[in-house]
Symmetry: C2
Subunit: 192 residues, 2 copies
C-alpha cells in the first residue's frame, strides 16, 4: 500500500480541508499538490480521472435486505414505528415494515464500493447534489445499483485531482427505483 504523497502542508488537518475544498470552490490561496493512492497496489484494476467519461455506466452486485436487519438498523439509527415492527408499521403511511432510507443509502454504498466504478483513490464522496427515495424498501427485497457518469471535471488549481459526478439508481428485484442520488466523488489523475 502506497502512502499518501503530500507536498506543501505541515498540518494533516489542512490536507483534508483542501481536498474537501476542491468540491466547494473554497480553495486556499496557496497552490498545493496532493496525490492519493491508498490502494496503489491495485492500480491495474483501478480507474483514474482519465478513465472516466460522461455517460459511462457501471453495475453492481446484489444484496438482499433482511427484515431483522431493517429493525436493528432502525433501533440504532432511526427508531420510528414504520421501521421497527411489522404490526406497528401496518398502521402507518408505509403500510408495512420499510427500511430506513439511511439503511438503503448504506446498502447502496456497499454495492458501490464493490461495484464496477472503482475509482483509484476509493469511493470518496464529497457530498450529494440530490437524494430521493421514490419507493419503500421491504424485507426480502434484492437491491442493485446502476450508475451513470454525469460529469467529469478537472480542478484548475489542483491539477492532480478531479471530480466525477455519479447518478446512482438503486433498484429492487422488480426493476423499480427505490433510491436515486447524484454524488460528487474526488478522483486522482493518473500521473497525479
Amino acid at each position: 500500500m502506497n502512502p499518501i504523497q503530500i507536498v506543501g502542508f505541515s498540518n494533516p488537518a489542512d490536507v483534508v480541508n483542501v481536498v474537501y475544498s476542491l468540491a466547494v470552490g473554497a480553495l486556499p490561496a496557496n497552490e498545493t499538490v496532493i496525490s492519493v493512492d491508498p490502494q496503489g497496489t491495485n492500480a491495474m484494476t483501478k480507474r483514474y480521472l482519465e478513465d472516466f467519461a460522461v455517460r459511462q455506466t457501471f453495475g453492481s452486485g446484489r444484496v438482499r435486505v433482511d427484515g431483522e436487519r431493517i429493525k436493528s438498523f432502525a433501533a440504532e439509527f432511526d427508531p420510528q414505528p414504520f421501521h421497527l415492527d411489522e404490526e406497528a408499521a401496518r398502521h402507518t403511511i408505509f403500510r408495512g415494515l420499510a427500511a430506513s432510507g439511511w439503511h438503503t443509502a448504506a446498502l447502496t454504498m456497499r454495492l458501490l464500493v464493490e461495484g464496477e466504478s472503482k475509482p483509484a483513490g476509493g469511493i470518496i464522496g464529497l457530498g450529494l447534489d440530490e437524494l430521493c427515495w421514490p419507493l419503500p424498501v421491504r424485507p426480502g427485497d434484492e437491491l442493485r445499483v446502476e450508475g451513470e457518469l454525469g460529469e467529469v471535471s478537472l480542478s484548475q488549481s489542483h491539477p492532480h485531482h478531479g471530480l466525477i459526478k455519479i447518478r446512482a439508481t438503486t433498484l429492487n428485484q422488480n426493476g423499480e427505483a427505490v433510491q436515486v442520488f447524484v454524488a460528487a466523488l474526488i478522483v486522482p489523475r493518473r500521473n497525479g
Copy 2:
C-alpha cells in the same frame, strides 16, 4: 395508536406512491385525502404543519461516536481502509480513522428523531436537496444537530399534508460542521 386514514384508494401501494408524489410534483389526476398520525396518542407534543414557520430553529441531544462502531459500520456498509483500521487509515487522504459519511448521516437521523422538531407523522423524509461532509468524523467526536426551517409549503391538490424543508447541520464538540443537509419532510396538517 390511530390507524392511517385513507380516502380514495384501494391499493395500499398507491398510497405510498401518492405521498411520495407530493414531493416530486407528479400527483395523479384524481384528488385524494390522506391523513397520517402513527403516533396519534402523542399528538399533544407533536407538531403539525401549522406549527412550523420559516426560520424556526431546533436542537438535539448529543451522541458520542465510538471508534469500534466506526469500523463495524464500515465493515458492513463502507469497507474502505480509511473507515476500517487506524493504521491503514493513516496512509490515506483522511490521515486517520474517519467515520463513513453514511454512518454520520445515520447518527444524525437518530438525533433528529429524538430532537426538538417532532413532526406529528414522524420524520418522513422524501429526499434531500443537498448533502455534504465538510470535515471527517473521528472516534470520540460528540455530535449534535442544529436545524433550521427553510421552507413550509402546502400542497394545493392535497390539502391535508404539506412539506417542510429542514437544513440540518451536524456539529462536532468543537462546533465545526461535519455534515450539512437539506431534507424535505412530509408533515400532516392539524385538521388533516
